[in-house]
Symmetry: D2
Subunit: 263 residues, 4 copies
């Protein structure tokens, strides 16, 4: 920490905010700095690297405005929320395109002048379906793929093309109710709270690093359909929060976890 | 509902409060009545049975003051909370005895003039351990067994003796992290909330009807030990709430779920 | 209750769900019934009235689809959420028009083919401003006025025209921080949670019957601006919940309070 | 920050954890360090002072085990929780004595071998009552006074003797419902959540720096008595959390606010 502070001082950089976390057990050190000053990003990176151990990983000057591609199926609530925030400049990212495996969400997307691509999963192999998506995505520059209630499971191969850059919203309090129909599972189990989890996507289904989670109370009188509707409220809310944390460069991933410097 | 209202009216009973729940899918009807009046409990039961379908299950005039036996291991927080409430008449139950498989919690128990029985699980079979517990329990009259952080798994045979009357606190948000070391599992998984679940105990481990659940946020900086300590706060809180609901006769069990008429 | 059940039975109506609340202190009884059957609404009303005390107030067969007029100023988050739900048929109401005292929210409103009326408050008296709003409203049929972050205080005279039918979202945990700039007040006071309150509007500022409230944690590092942004998340969420409760006819108002039968 | 890191490095101190907060508007900088190493506390203080601006306030080597005096009236829940934690070494403070203006809580206190002093407020002036308390307190060494549901208002003069060292639990979500009978006020107002606030005591009633707040949902069916009982659960919980934060030296006070470095 002293070393980093010294590097910043030497580089004429002023530290605006700083958060750090030491994982003592694993001997790992995480730090997030907001700085201001005139030296170039590359000079700064070199100066930090010179001062720190060889295995240091640095992200300097992340782009303040991320670009995203959004994948959806039929449900509007997460996409709608993203489109609204995008339209009013409150997303800290710009939506470049929306890809849906149904046509249902085309009109709302196009209302906001965002290109919508319909790519059906029907009558083709998963491989072919994913290739179609990849081909479409190649027409855009983007930093993250957001799965905004995209209800198809992506193959490890697809995921490997976008390592650490796919964010999903899963409609349960992970690791409870992995996989399909979590609300039906929750209803069957008789839980008293349902949850939603925003996480990075890795090869294992619903097993990636968790970014944010939220719950909402339910009771015996809630049907599966009631739970689905209640769940939508926290799904869109927790996804929005996760996106904000990621887009503000507050999230670091290691092992299968996240370190998040919230404020 | 009209039938029940009519029975109450005919019996000269005044309905103080009434809550009902219809499970349309399963064609089951649940109702909880608080009534006042003079007809005897048995007369009332007969009158209700005469008016309702043959498979109706009725609990009339439940004892307002339940009696409980508490099983513990080493952790004080749930037992301490129960003993305090019991001492100040705020538990709606009376603690008849505490059984521990360690001696640690004897002093706090005896401070409150409650008998404490030490029954070690060491150097004996599970069957023998459970027989010792059962023999000790036979010396008491009680309505419920409360597992207040009792860290031994009870056999289906033991459980079958106390059907629907064993209440456990599990230190996770069930069904996530079933079994041993849920906080270690939670830490490993990198969740952003940890939970606690109070439930009735059935033959399957941690799989009985859920009464109450609660969560508390955690972050990357919380160690397993931090989670254990944070978890204690919600464990004792959610167990206390579950006990209150059960002791006020607000909880009905069916299939593997609970119907809870809160207020 | 028996009387009502009898009336329903006599009228050939089947009770689907029933919730009641007895305010013992004030000797008032509230009941909400969902029923199905063939007798006409007027017949039913007469039958109920005949069976119940003279001062009974009954609402029979409320329109399942409410119509609303929305008043806004500059902030998009509540209006956007309402427009999205409306567009996807998830609002249980239809938005008839939006009136803004700024032009900012015209484009988003018109995207969804809802008429937007700009009525400036500038260079006119409050009376004249409110008359302009009332004249515009007269062109529409609606059941409720929703103040979706409408930042002008309405006069008792205006309010009296729409008794019990104006719903407001206030950006604090009422009754804390009544009036203007609640987030600035909250920041000044150093609270550890901020809140939002949806309520019916009465003559006294921010003093009407509360429908729903929600909070979100804050800490010393949150600036007023951070609080404003965090607050938006709960403002739109709590307003959405309040609207749903009202539009599903789950909210009864008496004295200055609400009785809400949630599920 | 660089300066502090340099001082620590020069003093041969290793920084284990560090949290900082910059209040930009007021040009104030707060930092909390956990360090290990061999230089003496006084040497360290001098080195820091030499490196930092003249108006720096430093607390070095706070005692890891605080001592407290507890003032109570009749309610057991906060005191009981404190006594339990104290007994099991989980309070990070040691309770030196309990003073009550009623005798009710003597037995529970003495069960835990803590001296209890009964000081009635009856038949004497407030000044005389407070002098009696002060005289009793003089027999003990303590760092903090905890008002664990002490229902008498203390005079500014009394408070001035223990500046910044009196912690109170107020049974409302401050600044809502200041003063007496907050639950009655909450019931009257028809709020949908009730709260509890732990805060330092200053001259103005219920107006000191807030340490922690918590809420719990209520509805129309909760009577004032129900609210009192529900409130107890969060009162003891929020007080426990505040005490932990203070006793772990995580709370700094400035103006009328707290800066809290939680983990």
């Amino acid at each position: 920490m002293a070393d980093i502070a010294r590097v910043m001082a030497d580089a004429g950089r002023n530290i605006i905010s700083m958060r750090e976390f030491v994982n003592v057990d694993e001997n790992r050190f995480f730090i997030r700095l907001e700085i201001e000053g005139n030296s170039s990003a590359e000079e700064l990176r070199q100066a930090i690297l010179a001062a720190l151990p060889a295995d240091t990983e640095i992200v300097v000057n992340p782009s303040p405005q991320k670009r995203i591609a959004v994948l959806v199926t039929k449900e509007y609530h997460c996409l709608g929320d993203i489109l609204l925030r995008n339209y009013f400049g409150a997303l800290q990212a710009s939506v470049r395109c929306v890809i849906g495996n149904h046509e249902i969400l085309r009109p709302i997307t196009e209302k906001f002048d965002i290109p919508f691509h319909f790519i059906s999963h029907e009558n083709k192999t998963k491989r072919s379906f994913e290739e179609d998506i990849q081909n479409t995505l190649q027409g855009y520059e983007f930093d993250y793929i957001v799965l905004a209630k995209f209800m198809r499971i992506l193959s490890p191969e697809f995921i490997s093309h976008f390592q650490k850059n796919i964010i999903n919203i899963h409609h349960s309090f992970l690791p409870a109710f992995i996989g399909a129909h979590p609300y039906r599972q929750a209803h069957e189990r008789g839980v008293k709270m349902i949850g939603a989890t925003a996480h990075f996507v890795t090869n294992d289904l619903d097993d990636g690093p968790i970014i944010s989670q939220q719950i909402i109370p339910v009771n015996h009188a809630h049907t599966v359909k009631d739970m689905v509707n209640l769940g939508k409220e926290i799904e869109k809310s927790v996804l929005a929060k996760a996106l904000q944390l990621v887009f503000e460069d507050r999230v670091m991933v290691y092992d299968n976890k996240t370190v998040i410097f919230e404020n």
